[in-house]
């Protein structure tokens, strides 16, 4: 199929046009115009992306490339505003435009009554444009522009309802946490340029190949790197990848930079679904996948990533257990699932990570939009303790939630099952077989944590469903009659996402399960093979591998089922047992979880307080004393004292002027005389 490469540029530009139209004229043109512009352009982007995807599949070439314009050409530093559409970008692009379009459609209903309707769609379109730039970027700088742009939009949309100071604080928190990560990212980019002499992905990967190929001459690397002469290249690559990972932890909310994401729920729910669940937060994972060969060169970095991923997954799941805000539960769940993805990357299972990005985008967008429906129905009530028994009034939303929960809990043949199972299997493989034949204790530990998280995930998700939809109603009497199912385009978006959440797993069915319907031998690992990220496990014969896979699968399904069963029992028939535990033996544990392991307090003591103290000292010393006192006040004092002095001369008293003038003339005359005398 023919595909004009220059159309590639349209994919991010169309939403950008939407931003300009909605931002400049939206308020004047009315809601109809805003809705049409806001939704039609991302959908067009999706259509173009899909056409490009088909063209890519049908062709032999690895990628479709298009250079929009030359951006920076300084000496050997050449950067173009260029886009690359390869397997990885294609997957991300389709996710961003597809789910983005659905969420745009959903928002037309959800934001219907908002007074800043046009502004919302302008921001949402801008976000889509930047996100597409991020995933399509041909080099690290274009990626960085998108990276910062989505951060900006995230900030703008978290603080969308800026009349409330708490929302603005949440936006600032997100922005500052992201800045910390971005610093790491930038340093990583600088180091990459020093090592490879380029920020272009293709050229970086060529450099990486020449490093991993021992026989390659060193000259293929950037020859102008004397400062690195004494540093081993391995150490440098570890440093680069760690720096990039710091950037990823900021954007993807990993330890230690995750506390902003739960606070980001202050934004409108479609925003939480699009930015803080489906797309932007996965850009860290995308970055790691994009530079997979580079990350693979540094086992140390991969170890760190695995550790942080596993810890984040477990910690966030533990916190999610006790949250009462429906969106906070989903937020911590997102953090936890992102931890899973990084765990997979740490285990070297990039395709599993990307697969989980995709399926997570399906079911988490579904859950968020579902929670949006609940919140919409409850007139912006988010506390689950004030819900309960909504199943009767919101049967459709209930169904949506059940599907989402089953998908995220890893119930067999839902989309989450496939991706989560693949991740857990990669952990299981490392823990009990070992990539190099050796088994490491920390791998077993990480796998244990990940498995435990799977159980906890199933538990807290079903807890959420139970608290919201089951049991007796705690809804405010005034609200009861107003609870209603969403209208307009909202059910459509939910239905599409529900279908994707159920059947999304077909994208990357493992070879083990090729006997499933619609699959077959040749249709396994579609996603992994298409993106070129899939690596078959080596050093083991097929029977033994299958045995391991079955074991892992049974364990993870068993753990998930246990979590679901426990939640069903404790929040149903066994409620008394739970209450007894919460008020008795487990009181302290629950409090720790409720208080998010005191992470915010630790930040307060370790960073915020010293920073505030330093700021205060700076304020007194530099601002008040040096700038206000010495520089501003001092210059004013000098001017004023001169003024005081010369003011006396400007008395308006003409004889005084004349006298001054006469004396001046006298002095001049005298000087002229002396000069003439001296000359003559």
């Amino acid at each position: 199929m023919d595909f004009n490469p220059s159309l590639l540029a349209l994919i991010p530009i169309l939403p950008l046009i939407g931003f300009v139209l909605n931002g400049c004229f939206g308020n004047r043109m009315g809601r109809q115009f805003v809705s049409i512009v806001g939704c039609a352009l991302p959908i067009t982007s999706f259509v173009i992306a899909f056409r490009a995807f088909q063209a890519l599949r049908g062709s032999e070439s690895e990628a479709i490339r298009h250079t929009l314009f030359e951006w920076i050409h300084v000496g050997s530093f050449q950067v173009d505003m260029a886009f690359t559409f390869d397997g990885l970008s294609a997957v991300m692009c389709l996710v961003v435009t597809g789910i983005g379009s659905l969420i745009h459609l959903y928002s037309t209903g959800y934001m219907r009554g908002d007074k800043s309707y046009a502004r919302f769609f302008a921001y949402l379109n801008l976000f889509t444009a930047f996100m597409l730039m991020l995933v399509l970027g041909d080099n690290l700088l274009v990626l960085f522009v998108g990276w910062e742009g989505v951060g900006l939009c995230s900030y703008l949309l978290i603080g969308f309802w800026h009349e409330d100071a708490a929302n603005c604080d949440a936006g600032r928190k997100a922005f500052i946490f992201n800045r910390v990560g971005d610093l790491g990212f930038l340093i990583g980019v600088f180091l990459i340029f020093t090592l490879f002499g380029s920020v272009n992905f293709a050229e970086i990967l060529v450099g990486v190949e020449s490093i991993s190929d021992v026989t390659a001459p060193a000259s293929s690397l950037n020859s102008a790197m004397p400062m690195w002469g004494t540093v081993a290249i391995g150490t440098l690559i570890t440093a680069i990848t760690l720096c990039l990972f710091v950037g990823a932890t900021g954007k993807s909310a990993q330890i230690p930079l995750f506390p902003w994401l739960p606070d980001a729920m202050a934004g409108p729910t479609p925003v939480s679904a699009l930015i803080h669940a489906a797309t932007m937060v996965t850009s860290g994972v995308y970055l790691c996948c994009r530079l997979m060969p580079l990350f693979s060169l540094s086992p140390q970095t991969l170890g760190v990533i695995a550790a942080i991923g596993a810890c984040t997954a477990l910690l966030a799941a533990l916190i999610a257990l006790s949250q009462t805000d429906i969106k906070k539960v989903l937020a911590y769940s997102t953090v936890s699932q992102l931890g899973y993805m990084f765990f997979a990357i740490g285990m070297g299972a990039y395709s599993a990570a990307l697969f989980h990005v995709v399926t997570h985008a399906f079911f988490k967008a579904l859950l968020f939009l579902g929670s949006g429906s609940v919140i919409h129905a409850m007139h912006h009530e988010q506390d689950m303790r004030k819900m309960g028994g909504l199943r009767r009034q919101l049967p459709f939303t209930h169904l949506i939630f059940i599907i989402g929960t089953l998908a995220i809990a890893g119930v067999p043949f839902f989309s989450g099952f496939f991706s989560k199972d693949e991740i857990l299997f990669s952990g299981f493989f490392a823990a009990f077989h070992g990539h190099d034949g050796h088994v490491h204790f920390q791998d077993q530990l990480f796998w244990g944590m990940a498995t435990l998280t799977a159980g906890l995930t199933a538990f807290y998700m079903l807890r959420m469903v139970a608290l919201t939809f089951w049991g007796k109603s705690n809804v405010d009497d005034k609200l009861v009659d107003h609870v209603h199912e969403p209208g307009g385009w909202m059910p459509f978006s939910l239905a599409v996402l529900a279908v994707l959440s159920v059947f999304g797993g077909i994208l990357n069915v493992p070879e083990l399960l090729h006997w499933l319907p619609f699959v077959g031998e040749e249709r396994t690992f579609l996603l992994g093979n298409f993106t070129g990220l899939h690596h078959a496990h080596t050093g083991i014969d097929l029977d033994a591998l299958h045995k391991l896979e079955w074991t892992s699968l049974i364990i993870s399904v068993g753990v998930g089922a246990t979590g679901l069963a426990a939640a069903w029992y404790l929040y149903g028939p066994g409620r008394a047992l739970l209450d007894g535990f919460v008020n008795g033996a487990g009181k302290k544990l629950v409090r720790i979880s409720e208080n998010k392991f005191y992470i915010d307090e630790v930040y307060q003591i370790l960073i915020v307080t010293p920073f505030q103290f330093a700021s205060y000292v700076m304020f007194i010393l530099i601002d008040r004393f040096l700038i206000d006192g010495v520089m501003v006040g001092g210059s004013a004092l000098v001017v004023r004292s001169f003024g005081e002095f010369f003011r006396r001369m400007q008395s308006g008293f003409v004889p005084a002027y004349l006298l001054t003038f006469g004396c001046g003339a006298l002095v001049l005359l005298f000087i002229m005389m002396s000069l003439l005398n001296g000359a003559g």
Binding site: G652, F653, V654, P655, L659, G662
Partner: protein, 106 residues
């Protein structure tokens, strides 16, 4: 007796007398007249110098005279503006005292 130096002496004397009138008197009209006096002193010097150089170059004499003519024009302008101000000051305060001019700055 009729020589450049004596012209210059007269000019210097008239100029100094003008300086005294400007600095020492408080009647605006007299001050203005003293200014005219000083300008005339300068004119005299200019023309005398021009005449002295005319033996070598006729244009030098003309330059001095043209300069003096310009000074006369400037003096006329100065007198016109100065005297109208004096009239206004008189209308406002019934005074022609130089010291009262400082009341103009409010």
């Amino acid at each position: 007796m009729f020589s450049l130096t004596s012209c210059l002496y007269i000019s210097a004397f008239l100029f100094s007398t003008g300086v005294y009138g400007v600095l020492g008197r408080r009647n605006i009209l007299v001050v203005l007249m003293s200014l005219e006096l000083m300008l005339n002193a300068v004119n005299l010097a200019l023309v005398a110098f021009g005449r002295a150089y005319a033996a070598q170059d006729l244009a030098a004499a003309h330059t001095g005279q043209i300069f003096a003519l310009m000074v006369i024009a400037v003096a006329a302008a100065e007198a016109a503006v100065g005297l109208s101000i004096v009239l206004l000051v008189w209308r406002r305060w019934q005074s022609i005292d130089v010291r009262d001019l400082c009341r103009m700055h409010g």
